[in-house]
């Protein structure tokens, strides 16, 4: 099979899975959760908790304040951060939907590369997605000085982690889709 034809098969496989309402729902819910974590919870966790804990603000007010924090994707992030956050949210959603499909169908031919890709992709993607400005938020939270200094020295000031995450989650999704596209326990020609 030619490469372009193989790519078409992979894309059709992904499209075919995402057309099923259950997997589309998994994709959308996961993407929404990742987006919420990246845009609202990580940068504004203390504001969210203070708002929820406030006796001064009624329930409608709490919802309004927290909902308004989604606007931070425009004000609290650089252009490249926005691209990384939106792309990774979508890709992680697709990845989790594909993984759920693979698990539900009990595919036995999950390659080690797919497993490794999922691990590396999800971790680096979720690390990279956290920081609106420099890509170092999660790392700097855990390793306050060394990691931030290291990331600040990179050409894109740490955004490389998010870009690596996109590549790895994308690759992981590709491998999962390839697993689905090829019937289990068969021999490739």
């Amino acid at each position: 099979m030619s490469r372009s034809k193989a790519k078409m098969v992979i894309l059709k496989t992904i499209g075919g899975i995402l057309r099923r309402p259950a997997y589309l729902a998994i994709t959308l819910v996961t993407a929404f959760i990742v987006f919420t974590v990246a845009v609202v919870l990580i940068p504004s966790f203390s504001l969210v908790t203070s708002t929820l804990a406030s006796s001064q603000i009624d329930l409608a007010g709490k919802v309004k304040i927290i909902a308004s924090l989604y606007g931070a994707i425009g004000s609290n992030a650089t252009v490249i951060s926005r691209v990384i956050i939106i792309t990774l949210s979508a890709l992680v959603g697709i990845n989790v939907a594909l993984f759920s499909f693979v698990i539900s169908r009990r595919f036995r031919n999950i390659s080690k590369r797919a497993a490794g890709g999922s691990l590396g992709g999800l971790l680096s993607g979720l690390f990279g997605i956290g920081c609106a400005a420099c890509g170092s938020l999660l790392l700097s939270a855990i390793f306050p000085t060394a990691a931030a200094a290291f990331l600040a020295g990179l050409p894109l000031e740490g955004q490389e982690i998010g870009l690596l995450g996109i590549a790895l989650v994308g690759f992981s999704s590709y491998l999962l889709a390839k697993t689905v596209a090829r019937p289990p326990n068969t021999c490739a020609i």
């Binding site: 966790f45 007010g61 924090l69 497993a115 400005a133 000085t145 931030a148």
Partner: protein, 254 residues
């Protein structure tokens, strides 16, 4: 040629499946852990080697307790609005931070919606020298000098507006060009302004603001604290959108 690639034994397949499942769970735990431990991170994170700052981070308290460490707002602060306004937004900012520049515009927009006796805006220094080693401190010194030589709050805010408007942030401006421009705009004495900026007479004040920002939980800029009518405090991390700050103001003032 036919090559059997995917004929694997069941144990290996099951192990791979568990690895992926474990990866997802681990990633989730990492995110949750990072949120819990990194709750107050904002846009431009500070990685200072400053000893007190590291101690402050190590001795991190509950957010509400940290916010209570805020130095009371007094006439001595740079305030746009009434010192007795029921709502005060105390902003700790760095003149070289791009998100502070953005948030400065947001705050100026809010000023068109709320009178100074409803919402007061307080500016405090939070220069991140680790990120902006060249310009951060001189810019904050210059703001203080503008206030000293220009007659107080009004000159300070004119300086702040002009500096944020004229400079691209992140140490990408030549201060020897832009500061004289602002000095002329404000009608300040050139020699006195230059001598003031070169001196360290305001460094203690700038450091005190920096320290207070850290004590209140600030780990990056802009770091702001909204103080409601009954004294309740809300942390505003980073350059939050106008809608979010407006929603907060409207709901705490009810």
């Amino acid at each position: 040629m036919v090559v059997c690639v995917y004929m694997k034994n069941t144990n290996q397949d099951t192990r791979s499946t568990y690895i992926i499942a474990g990866a997802i769970v681990l990633a989730g735990l990492l995110v949750a852990g990072s949120i819990v431990f990194g709750g107050n991170n904002t846009n431009e994170s500070e990685n200072t080697n400053d000893q007190p700052a590291r101690e402050a981070a190590a001795e991190r308290q509950e957010p509400s307790q940290e916010l209570d460490a805020i130095r009371p707002v007094t006439e001595g602060d740079f305030i746009r609005g009434d010192v007795d306004a029921p709502i005060k937004i105390v902003e700790y900012a760095d003149f070289e931070c791009p998100f502070c520049k953005r948030f400065h515009n947001t705050m100026n927009q809010l000023r068109t919606e709320y009178d100074g006796d409803e919402v007061a805006w307080v500016f405090r220094h939070f220069p991140l020298t680790s990120l902006h080693p060249q310009n951060a401190v001189p810019a904050h010194r210059a703001a203080e000098c503008a206030a000293k030589l220009g007659g107080g709050d009004k000159a300070f805010w004119q300086f702040a507006d002009s500096y944020f408007e004229k400079t691209p942030s992140n140490d990408r401006v030549d201060l020897s060009v832009v500061l004289p421009e602002i000095q002329r705009e404000l009608g300040l004495d050139e020699a006195a302004f230059q001598s003031c900026v070169e001196s360290d007479q305001f460094d203690d004040q700038i450091q005190a603001d920096f320290q207070n920002a850290r004590e209140t939980g600030g780990q990056g800029t802009p770091w702001s604290i909204l103080i409601g009518p009954d004294g309740e405090k809300f942390p505003i991390n980073g350059a939050q959108p106008l809608g979010a700050v407006r929603a907060l103001i409207e709901n705490v003032s009810q």
